[in-house]
């Protein structure tokens, strides 16, 4: 049988999907063992048991200096920033995307501007944000918003413009005003797209968040990783990275579920 026609069964598929993960873990364990055999004090590839130990104490024990449990302190700080940035960007994406996609006058005015803005590398203007908004929360949220809002706006504008002309004309023949077309015809049809676009933007959003936290912050997942880097604390960095990955995965999963529940007419999310 040709390879393109061979389909693994359920069990085999599960095993195949798990294989790379298992190999990665195994590779780490072996490398860690080798290094520690050569130098028992090695900090670069700490033993899995030590990582687990540190992770556990990060998640359960209060920090000696501040009295906070570090993992949760960092997680809540980062998630709040991320959520605020994503919320602001999504709202801007919807409002401007719909207006640009539907109203020629606004499209002519704003589309070129948004295109140019979206070309600015957000990290390049991070210093400006720090200077203008200070080192507090605003500049970090602003970086996320500036980083992903233009993409969302362009995506939603594109999707809005792709709504078949026939549907817009049909709504007009039923007497719909511009406002009625925006709220009853266009908005519900781009909402599922917004979720899709947001899912794609979460990667960049994390990037901007961690960058901003690394540079100026007093707590946050990105802050912690870059702080302990000075002490080669791989036993802290590795659990944090795994935790961030897990959070990103759960957010993606949540958005996908939301898509499925809220928009049964839109077909499965990809």
């Amino acid at each position: 049988m040709r390879w393109i026609n061979r389909r693994p069964g359920r069990l085999v598929a599960f095993g195949l999907a798990a294989l790379p993960f298992a190999l990665a873990v195994l590779g780490y364990v072996i490398a860690s063992d080798l290094r520690r055999a050569a130098n028992p004090a090695d900090k670069l590839l700490p033993a899995p048991a030590q990582i687990l130990d540190t992770a556990l104490s990060l998640a359960t024990e209060a920090d000696r200096r501040s009295g906070d449990v570090l993992l949760w302190l960092d997680t809540s700080a980062s998630l709040i920033r991320l959520a605020e940035g994503a919320l602001i960007s999504a709202s801007m994406g919807l409002v401007f995307g719909l207006l640009i996609g539907l109203i020629p006058g606004i499209r002519t005015t704003l589309a070129p501007f948004v295109s140019v803005i979206s070309l600015i590398p957000p990290l390049a203007i991070l210093p400006i944000l720090f200077i203008v908004f200070g080192l507090g929360e605003v500049s970090k949220v602003a970086l996320i918003a500036i980083g992903i809002a233009p993409v969302l706006i362009r995506d939603i504008a594109q999707r809005t413009a792709e709504i078949p002309e026939e549907m817009i004309v049909k709504a007009q023949t039923l007497g719909a005003s511009t406002w009625a077309i925006i709220t009853r015809v266009a908005l519900p049809q781009v909402l599922p797209r917004l979720i899709g676009a947001l899912r794609l933007s979460l990667g960049p959003a994390w990037l901007f968040l961690i960058a901003a936290e690394a540079i100026a912050s007093t707590e946050g997942l990105g802050y912690r990783i870059f702080l302990v880097r000075r002490y080669f604390a791989m036993d802290v960095i590795i659990p944090y990275v795994i935790w961030i990955t897990l959070l990103a995965f759960l957010m993606d999963l949540g958005l996908r579920q939301l898509h499925r529940r809220a928009f049964p007419w839109a077909g499965p999310a990809t």
Binding site: P164, E166, M167, V169, K170, A171, Q172, T173, L174, G175, A176, S177, W179, A180, I181, T183, R184, V185, P188, Q189, F263, P264, W265, A266, G267
Partner: protein, 268 residues
């Protein structure tokens, strides 16, 4: 008296003429079929009737009123595709036909409470009549092509337009479903006496449903530059009374087509 008056319409895209010198008078309640070669400008003519576009020259008026600047409630429309709203249920599509143009109570063009129940009742009655009551809560994507087009027609009619415009409404349907749709459309017409324009690629359908059949074609043809001239109405057949004398021609009486016409069993 002329209800829809088309006077001396020209339409070009860029320098390319599509329609030229189109004149037409249609009485209220007439069913006008439009046929012609692909790309000759039938849909363009319909878009002009719809006021989705404005002609380069000439004007179209309904009941002697000034030409419309944009699509409005006087004109209902059904396209071959994308004529219903995919994000609304079947019932929701019919309710929306009233909501979209209705007076707004609050911020949203949406009915609530008693008003919505009233509209839902009317929608359900319409669904009962077009045989879609059993799928009222489903989304259009789960409906067959014929069901979607029935919904689209019912939705257009729910807006109570003066003129109904159909652009190849049955073009994507199989022959059996098509016949059922013809019967459906004829029933609706008998009830509402609406003025209808229907573009079709099917001559038999055009003559069967239409009171008049208009043929769009290029009166002048430049062999070197085929795009130099636009199309106009080259024939205007009277298709009433069985299309006499036109439908006495053999093609309308071939046994197969006759058998098909009698076969009104809905296969939707």
């Amino acid at each position: 008296m002329s209800f829809v008056t088309v006077s001396d319409i020209f339409q070009s895209y860029g320098k390319r003429p599509i329609l030229e010198r189109v004149n037409l008078e249609v009485a209220e309640g007439e069913f006008v079929s439009i046929v012609g070669a692909s790309g000759c400008g039938k849909s363009t003519f319909l878009r002009l009737l719809l006021a989705q576009e404005r002609p380069t020259r000439g004007s179209i008026s309904i009941e002697g009123r000034p030409p419309a600047q944009e699509p409005d409630r006087d004109r209902g429309v059904v396209f071959q595709r994308y004529s219903v709203f995919p994000h609304m249920t079947v019932r929701g599509n019919l309710i929306a036909a009233e909501e979209l143009g209705g007076e707004r109570a609050g911020l949203l063009p949406r009915f609530f409470g008693a008003r919505r129940r009233e509209a839902a009742k009317r929608a359900d009655a319409a669904l009962e009549r077009i045989g879609l009551a059993h799928v009222a809560d489903q989304y259009p994507a789960s409906l067959s092509g014929g069901m979607q087009q029935r919904l689209a027609i019912a939705q257009a009619l729910a807006g109570r337009p003066r003129v109904l415009l159909l652009d190849e409404p049955f073009g994507a349907l199989d022959p059996g479903t098509r016949l059922a749709m013809h019967a459906f459309l004829q029933d609706l017409r008998a009830e509402t006496n609406m003025t209808v324009f229907m573009v079709s690629h099917d001559l038999e359908e055009a003559f069967k449903l239409g009171d008049r059949v208009l043929v769009f074609d290029k009166p002048r043809w430049d062999p070197i530059e085929p795009e130099a001239w636009g199309a106009t109405i080259t024939y205007d057949f009277d298709a009433r009374d069985g299309g006499i004398p036109f439908q006495n021609r053999p093609f309308a009486e071939t046994p197969t087509s006759q058998a098909q016409e009698d076969d009104h069993v809905p296969q939707v």
